[in-house]
Symmetry: D3
Subunit: 237 residues, 6 copies
């Protein structure tokens, strides 16, 4: 690990981030061909919040939040702070005081690959957080790390300045240069989904709408009446 704080990372335009924030994680993920989802273990501590922002990254030593303090200075309006550790860590590296600092700088939220604490206060503040763990265990400030270097979180590479989208389904990272395409493709997908939704609500089946009946036949799936199936199975009891 090179111990650096990278400064001056370019950000995507705020209005484009705001535009993308209207769409959910699942929609953007699909629209872009399924890249960058941080997986099912990074979960929100609140319900019903949806954000988009520009990633500022911090890589900490386990049990140590020194580099989060260094990262705060690199954060500005529209940013989302993304924190990981050099090896797995459950400790509460982030709490209400750091959130106060971030909120004062216009930061939109935190993605934490370790733990957070003061969760009641954080919810009361309305500061949105997605985290792997909740833990009251605090940290030291003794070992160097890095700020605004590429991280790996939840099986994905997260680049500084990339776009973060987060909601109740989890967290997504989108390459910055894909932001315009993400907006356009999400808009198109949403429109298409609205039509599909109406059709499905009216009773058409996905089997027919997506042309899956033929596929089932090609794959050799047979339709068998219950009594006939049961007769075969009873031999196995």
């Amino acid at each position: 690990m090179r111990n650096v704080v990278v400064t001056g990372v370019p950000r995507p335009p705020l209005d484009q981030l705001d535009e993308l924030a209207r769409f959910g994680v699942a929609t953007v993920h699909e629209a872009l061909g399924r890249i960058g989802y941080l997986g099912p273990r990074i979960r929100p501590i609140q319900q019903g919040t949806r954000i988009a922002g520009s990633a500022v990254t911090a890589l900490c030593w386990p049990g140590d939040n020194l580099m989060i303090h260094a990262a705060v200075e690199q954060c500005g309006p529209g940013d989302v702070l993304v924190v990981s550790t050099a090896s797995p860590c459950t400790d509460g590296l982030f709490g209400e005081l750091l959130a106060t600092s971030l909120a004062a700088r216009g930061i939109r939220g935190l993605v934490m690959d370790a733990g957070v604490r003061d969760t009641a206060e954080l919810r009361a503040m309305g500061f949105p957080i997605w985290t792997r763990h909740v833990s009251a265990q605090g940290s030291v400030k003794a070992t160097a790390g890095a700020v605004n270097v590429p991280l790996v979180v939840g099986g994905q590479s997260v680049l500084p300045g990339s776009v973060i989208v987060a909601d109740d389904d989890g967290v997504l990272t989108v390459p910055a240069h894909e932001l315009p395409r993400a907006i356009e493709a999400s808009r198109a997908r949403e429109a298409k989904e609205q039509i599909t939704r109406d059709v499905l609500a009216a009773g058409q089946l996905g089997l027919d709408r997506y042309g899956l009946r033929a596929l089932l036949g090609e794959l050799g799936v047979e339709y068998v009446p219950y009594e006939q199936y049961l007769a075969g199975e009873r031999r196995n009891v």
Copy 2:
């Protein structure tokens, strides 16, 4: 795995399902002698919902939801769709569009042994879901599986046409022919628990009500005053 869609699975009477739905999972589980609980890992995405329905089952390949589409056609009013995968899978095989389809057919909920997505929308729709994972990661439709075959979910065999009961404590499967007994036994247990509740609220101890004092004695449990116990323990520090 035989690649079949079993049709015409018989359902338990809707009024009996409605009757059973009044009781909680823990009550029915106890009333029937502790069979069929799908374990502590299948959790609701909503709070305070209690349902009962008839199981339609779908067995998918990991990362593939083709058979869920085939299963929708086999679903009708009062059913609960139960989905498992051929090996462990965290992906979001089910989302808001499939829920729209199911809701249009009168289905009461979903039990998912993999993952779901669009959780904010699903809660907003009021479509009840119990799931092992929440994940925005989507699926393909490429590999055959089966519909309405016996599944294993959470260490239990779930048969098509069996009764599913679900609430904040998790999910239960009850053999269809046990439904009348389940209602009767749950009603009896509830009545008995109400009496016990009143007695305990009035201050009687379980030790006395359940006759456990004698058992403690038979098992050799001794009552020891604190100072005496402490004197013994201090030798160990």
Copy 3:
């Protein structure tokens, strides 16, 4: 395991417990030098509740809640029941009837290192619970254990008569003789945090307030402009 029920465990004064209950788990944990946190796996089933009480402990055999019944009799106003098992167990050893008993005796809550059930009813009752698992699976009453002996829960030794603090961040055990110091140190910490909070909200950085800039320098952390960093990294793709 010695099969004993230890009686007459001394309790800390109720007014001091009430005083400590005003502070959160993270605050008390820090104030006392980070001792006794039961870790990130014991989680509340409710949100926004904060309690403090005196520990009554019960050690059960897996799948068996006999000793919880023995423990109830040892519980009184201001107590918190803490339950562990001789080996890991997910079963629902505690439900609404036991909560009715405890509530009738003025107990403030339950900390469970196995599972609980009837969670909807327990939330409706307003009986606060922190637990490792939620499970409808019930228990037997067949094997001896112990009441008011030291337990290990979440990597911490929990002594009978010690102070339990619990909120959305988890559960803390504090030695009884530390209670006055815990109150004083928490009060001091809260006051100091209020000042820090105001300063951070006004925009001062933790880097400056905590004197961390010098430390970053000593540890060899370099500040590198983005373009320069990128030039180095591009060699690695």
Copy 4:
């Protein structure tokens, strides 16, 4: 759970079991269309052992091995004892003394969905074991369970009298009436694999042998030279 000991379970012929034992778990699993694999968590405590036998099943309460003792009496030459618990359990429910009993009755091995102990002695005895856990923690004999009822182990239903195959890849259950087909299909698969092995060893690619080149094309997989790919990716750093 019904508390029964089912007696007189029919066994498959010993010579057919011996015949099947020649093939590995992966081969039989494939030959039968991928049914009945007990998953990656049930692991051998020894290396290089391969067995086949007839399942005798025991369902125990967690922390309790009473029903293993009841099951021993139902075991005979060629059998494999399969043990599960009513809820997850890591305890060592089986050790060297029980293995001595089983070996004296001609039993071929143990499949344990909880824990075993005395592993050094068991390896020294040459008694083959597949288990979820190794734990020195012992058990009580206090609560009823069942013998020779269907179990669920590792996501599979295991019927008494079914065929168990086990080796370094794990454990497989095969319906008894499928045993002749399992032998025949495994033999055919082994022969086919020997030809494939020779061809692959001689350098032919699976892409060509299995006709996968065309599939890659249909699925839209493109071949891209490294420098061209790199040029695209560098935009993302």
Copy 5:
């Protein structure tokens, strides 16, 4: 956590440790009434080694092995070093160089609640290790901890100067003042087990030897012939 190095911890007599080392973990655990087993997650990196020694304890910060170096100085012949961390950690806090130091001082082995590395070299040296993780990830030396304070490892309190027994079944801690009783009780248990082993090898059943037939009857366990059981079950398919 108080940051102390406790010196001059009294040790049990070496000849008694040697005497206890003859018995396995499971035997001593049973002989003493099932206390102090460190659970199924602390596993040996070698096979077939059995040791007993006196515990020297070290409590480290996650990712930091400073206190192991401080602990080495407190170690002498017959000791076993037991290391834990303030929160869960997978890093390799211990490797071949530290083992060289310990071996030079006559230490008998290491019990590690985090990770070790250089496992090939450690096996080649014949230095016995029980550990939760194997990881090449190294550590810093920056944060204080403690030496020879009570630790919690695997759900057990481990006191400095207590007796550690370890073999293929895991690790056990025995209070120092129990060592003579442990030897005597293990010897008695071993003798009794030898008789039981001979009887079981000769074909007597545990059901008869331990008087369990009557218990099965009292618990209501019924014996049911296979065909009769099957008739009942067939209704459920």
Copy 6:
């Protein structure tokens, strides 16, 4: 995920790979400043093997090994195949037939972030494997993925053409342009460790050799005699 097979990835010189293979994972990891370790969950199925090679990467859909077949064609002498899946997967995507193909092409080993099967045969062949899971469950060939794109395995980004080092401590990825420095730094570290080893074997303490005594003092670590410490602790029982 872009569905591509990247061809013509440049490889590091074979003689440099051979040179690096002499050093262990832990040594190279330290020598390079602790980058690229794939973590404690990717474990060898054999013991005592150490390799280095050039990474060919394959990204598969869960339960599908189509892209491994496409990757084989891109492999040559000195390569190590590294396989990951789009979401977590335990299935046996790789077995003895694929190993036969790879061995015929001079490949040095496999790193698998899902599962392998035929482990007994693979050990017998002497084909080295590091894997997250062992599972007999086979795969389909139905869904596109990618070959020689960057993967994330065990929290690290693995680039095609990077250097893989693997032994009993796990797996390391080293950027190709760092290979000469890795060799030199590992050689230097090994030499230095030999001196340290001799000194430690002769009895010098790490406390003195690494100058840690002063650090302990600065951090406020106190040395306390046992009796004095005990007197303080006894108040807590």
